[in-house]
Amino acid sequence: MAFLHSPAAYLPERIVTNEYLAERVGKTAEWIAQGSGIRERRWAEGSVADLGVVAAQACLSKTGLKPVDIGMLIVSSGSSEHRFPGPASTVAQRLGLPRVPALDIPIASAGSLFAIVLADNLAAAYGNILVVAAEKMSSTIDLGDPNTAILFGDGAGACLISPSPGPLRIVDSVLHSDGAAADILQLPHDGPLRMEGLLVARHATREIPASIQEVLARQLKLPAEIGLYVLHQANLNLIVRVARALNLGEDKFFVNLDRYGNTSSASLLVALAEAPLPPGPVILAAFGAGLHWGAAYLLHAGRNGFTAITPA
């Protein structure tokens, strides 16, 4: 059992509005907003590693730890520039981490949730694990495919998973994968990103609530007992349906996709960095290509939770 510390985010400065995109994809700004809930997104100039390093540095700065205190790095990205190496070793080197294992998780949207859960299970052996999710989705889209192109943005998030106590304890989690629908959402090496929106919508609206119900049942909790749901920020229409499936109001769900779009695996950590977490139970959930999906149950001790982190 480990604790999640100091979520931090980095969003590139360049704002791409619906109005800007609408002209280029042959749709209206309102069509984009209605179909997704997205008003604007960010596009980056640099590499996936560039984005990840800035978010990781922001997280490290919040923890007060030095690079030498980190025992492992996990970097989630589905938009990496190379087949190999992934961005993890570059991010590790640029952060000055002392030759610790740096693992890539290239599964796109659910990657940061999988990374958090893996780190939770590995923290007893590796100590402080820095989890980073960085995505340059603007490099994957085809403006000739408006249904997909309008959804995505660039960004990065980071957090520390540590055995040292903190205000946010990772209590339980469920992860699932199913390759039966592997071809409905994919980024071939010669690009661009291809998504069968109807099927992705169908699977996501089924599997996200089911995985949340699964972890809640294990914790003997009802959906209404959760203070805040922080989901992968894919599409407002998806979040609305998850809320409906759980018989909850939408106010229980944190939303920032209106400003950043779908930043794939970065979105969960960016949302976590911005979400006003109330004391009590919090649910994280994600769904993405693979298909991979899952949910995690965290307990938030509130502002007065013990926050000192032991160096490795």
Binding site: W31, Q34, G35, N147, A181, I184, G197, L198, L199, A201, R202, T205, N235, N237, L238, R241
Partner: protein, 81 residues
């Protein structure tokens, strides 16, 4: 109740942009249904007519109009009421 009326009722129940489409009018391209609403509609059709729509059938083409939906239901053995 004629089946097209029931289909129209189901489409209207999931649509935010209901515009009283004719039997052949496009539902998807006209904005009557977006991706998520079409997914909602298919779930409603499954429940109403006690059928399972496999992933391989979930394409906009099969559900692009009231008439198309009716044809799909007939192809799945749903009897006209």
């Amino acid at each position: 109740m004629p089946k097209q009326s029931k289909i129209r009722e189901l489409v209207q129940s999931v649509s935010k942009n209901w515009s009283d489409p004719g039997p052949e009018d496009p539902l998807f391209d006209s904005g009557v249904l977006d991706s998520f609403e079409l997914t909602d509609l298919v779930a409603a059709l499954e429940q109403t007519y006690n059928i399972q729509v496999p992933d391989s059938d979930l394409t906009p083409r099969k559900f692009e109009s009231i008439a198309r939906i009716e044809a799909y239901l007939e192809s799945r053995g749903v009897l006209i009421q």
